[in-house]
Symmetry: C2
Subunit: 458 residues, 2 copies
């Protein structure tokens, strides 16, 4: 392997090849504690597309697998090292190459932090919608690889909806350009959307052309408290049916509410469930949307509804939602799941999670993006107890089972990675799995990229 | 081949297997006069997914290629027969299986006519956005295969943006289910968006789950006339930069205006270019959008700007835009192109087309979806003159060249088919072509589906 290391040093410079295990340990895994991870041969941090190509060619020749990663904020183990691999970190490729306000697009390298892009385009009155919870440290490359979502999705879609084109280094080191700079285009297969969400299994994304939107109006915020989960679920369905598209619609269950109340030392005056909604339509249109949501919540039996156009107050209310995970940390380690169910099934998912919590004898809080049915039931366990870890893992799997039973999917935005591989096979079935393997084989015949993640090769 | 015909009759019933060449002639080609087409062995009209599977298995065993098609409204020759093939027509599979207003989705068979789906969901206060010009007779299956667009795209995107999941019969007759019923989901590769726009080269779509939107407000309409093409182009760029998202923004050049004035016997009071915009935001928000567009047009030097909230008047103005092709027919046969350029390049495209028109010595009208840069320069020629046909074809190709030079794509919404195969290779380059061939090979190793369309196999 010494000759490979020498080649890597030639390719990216000696300082950008890390082999000290004390240093490389930080690049062994992402934020998902359940997923297995190995020890890499080396961690390389290329600074350009050409350097990525050289790294890929060297590893391909040596038959050493490559695990691409960004900041490592993922929650599926898709960026986890396998033993003896090269971890290819894109964080040094962090240039915002271009912002073109007249065509509402940006060209970026993969290492750009989501928040940095948001800030850069905001100066031009523009908006890059995808906003995963880790937006202040996750990178666009990771967002692309996982097709990341966030709070914005109910109105603005997920990452794939904002991508016009990609530059990807393939397994033979060749550079593929997909898509275009225009907002429409149907020349050939939609390779752009095939690579988005492929979790580093098909190539290394080295550049992306992203579609931007006009900056929305300042949001107005509404919070509604419900005495029963069913009432909150009915309100969500009714908002969808009424044709209102809020810019944010989040739900917190009883356990999440209690944790946040304890953490923030506040009284949310909520019983079984809290709905938090925003409209960024602005002015009369925004008021019309919030009034419609308020009426729906009251009709569904909300015990309290409060709406405000005050920005600071809106931020405070949103802070309660964002505090759920830190609040749960006061009880122990958390393991967050990620299922997406039809929007009519949210109440059933929450009550099902209450049953799972009781059976697992573990605290389980449900928080999620109610507007699109993407829920994050989060199990709390004692990380020092092997028994609790086992029960947490059991609960994690039962939640996936419940999601599928309700007509949903095993992952709404976190991805499959190394933690839901068997569940992917279950969701997509043998024909779906065969097609996945055929596409992987077609693009990466030697299984160079992220081997064993998402699915096992043929 | 008699044994194959017998098998097909067993599969779909004798009445659904057409072999009389007088009858099958109607299924030999789509609406693009330039594309080559052959004579099919048979035309089959299956009535169910199971029947499609039986047809695919029979043809695969006999090594007879299959060309899938819907209504045949396409403009790229992607549905054109090759000699000795089986044309698989999906128009009999025209059930709207389900409309679910609470989850804002519909499940349909491929033969449903676009307009019929629009009407069915409108009863529930819902909206299926994709609206190609042929919406009153084209089918959803064809829309999916070509990733069809229309006038709605500037605000609502193209077909792929409205698809949640598909059911596809693969080359071995197996049934693949892609996607889901939820609005978010990242379980595995995005096979749904790979099949959308694949022009029948990877499988036969037999069912689709489509995302619906709330029915928009009644549109307000604005028309602006410009003395120079540059001024109209500047207005489009400025609308984009100002962050206004109209629900429709169409442009007509001098030649298109003159043709429509002659056809409708009206005076559009326009010089070099006409912009037609709508806002469906409703009420104050709609007025705010149109006021912003009006100001932009005046600043850009519009000679006339007229806005109306009157629905009938708006429809009349839109009718002028929709009349361009019939109006051109008064001069001769038309050959419509389909390039998409960055929105800042529209004026350059139009002036470039004026040069091409002069060189080709043929009338050339430019009409298009200015809001997304998707332009349809349309050449008029005498169909009885071989020389004019040759010059029309020459102009068609020069327009594609110009589109690429301006940083655009060779097709914004019509597709590649049998008419732009060489241009696709030019746009995506050798690496892109190799990836296309690898995916085709992975999913359709015997080149069963639509052979020779979009690109030549490896």
């Amino acid at each position: 392997m010494e000759s490979l290391l020498a080649e890597l040093r030639t390719a990216v410079g000696a300082a950008a090849v890390l082999t000290d295990t004390d240093v490389t340990a930080a690049y062994r895994r992402d934020m998902m504690p359940l997923a297995p991870h190995g020890t890499p041969l080396a961690v390389v941090l290329p600074g350009s597309t050409e350097q990525v190509q050289a790294v890929v060619r060297a590893c391909a020749a040596a038959r050493v697998p490559i695990v691409p990663r960004g900041a490592g904020s993922g929650l599926s183990g898709a960026a986890n090292a396998v033993d003896g691999c090269v971890v290819l970190v894109t964080t040094k490729m962090n240039a915002i190459v271009e912002v073109d306000p007249d065509n509402r697009l940006a060209v970026v390298e993969p290492g750009v932090v989501n928040l940095d892009l948001r800030a850069a385009v905001e100066k031009h009155g523009l908006f890059y919608p995808p906003d995963p919870s880790s937006y202040d440290w996750c990178t666009i490359g990771g967002n692309l690889s996982t097709n990341a979502g966030g709070l914005c999705c109910v109105k603005y879609g997920v990452t794939t909806d904002s991508v016009l084109g990609l530059e990807v280094v393939l397994a033979d080191g060749e550079l593929l350009r997909t898509g275009r700079r225009t907002v429409k285009g149907v020349a050939g297969y939609d390779l752009t959307k095939l690579f988005v969400g492929s979790e580093g299994t098909l190539g290394v994304i080295t550049r992306a052309t992203l579609a931007l939107r006009p900056l929305p109006q300042a949001p107005a915020t509404l919070v509604a408290a419900f005495g029963t989960t069913g009432a909150a679920g009915a309100a969500v369905s009714r908002v969808v049916r009424e044709g209102v598209v809020p810019s944010l619609m989040e739900i917190m269950d009883r356990t999440a509410i209690a944790a946040v109340e304890r953490y923030l030392k506040t009284d949310l005056a909520a019983g079984a469930a809290l709905l938090l909604c925003q409209s960024d339509a602005g002015g009369e249109a925004g008021r019309r949307e919030l009034t419609a949501i308020e009426q729906v919540c009251r009709d569904a039996g909300a015990e309290l509804v409060y709406a405000t156009e005050d920005l600071a107050e809106g931020r405070d209310l949103l802070a309660a939602r964002r505090a759920v995970l830190p609040a749960l940390e006061l009880y122990g380690a958390w393991l967050t799941d990620d299922v997406c169910v039809p929007r009519t099934k949210i109440a059933e998912l929450i009550t099902g999670c209450e049953r799972i919590s009781a059976e697992a004898r573990l605290r389980l809080a449900v928080v999620g993006h109610a507007g699109d049915g993407n829920m994050h039931p989060t199990v709390v366990y004692d990380a020092t107890s092997a028994d609790e870890f086992t029960r947490a893992r059991w609960a994690f799997d039962r939640i996936l089972e419940l999601g599928l039973e309700l007509g949903g999917t095993i992952t709404g935005e976190h991805g499959v990675g190394r933690i839901k591989r068997e569940w992917l096979a279950r969701e997509i079935g043998p024909v779906g799995l065969r097609v996945h393997r055929a596409i992987k084989q077609a693009l990466d015949p030697d299984n160079l990229f992220n081997p064993g993640s998402m699915f096992t090769p043929a």
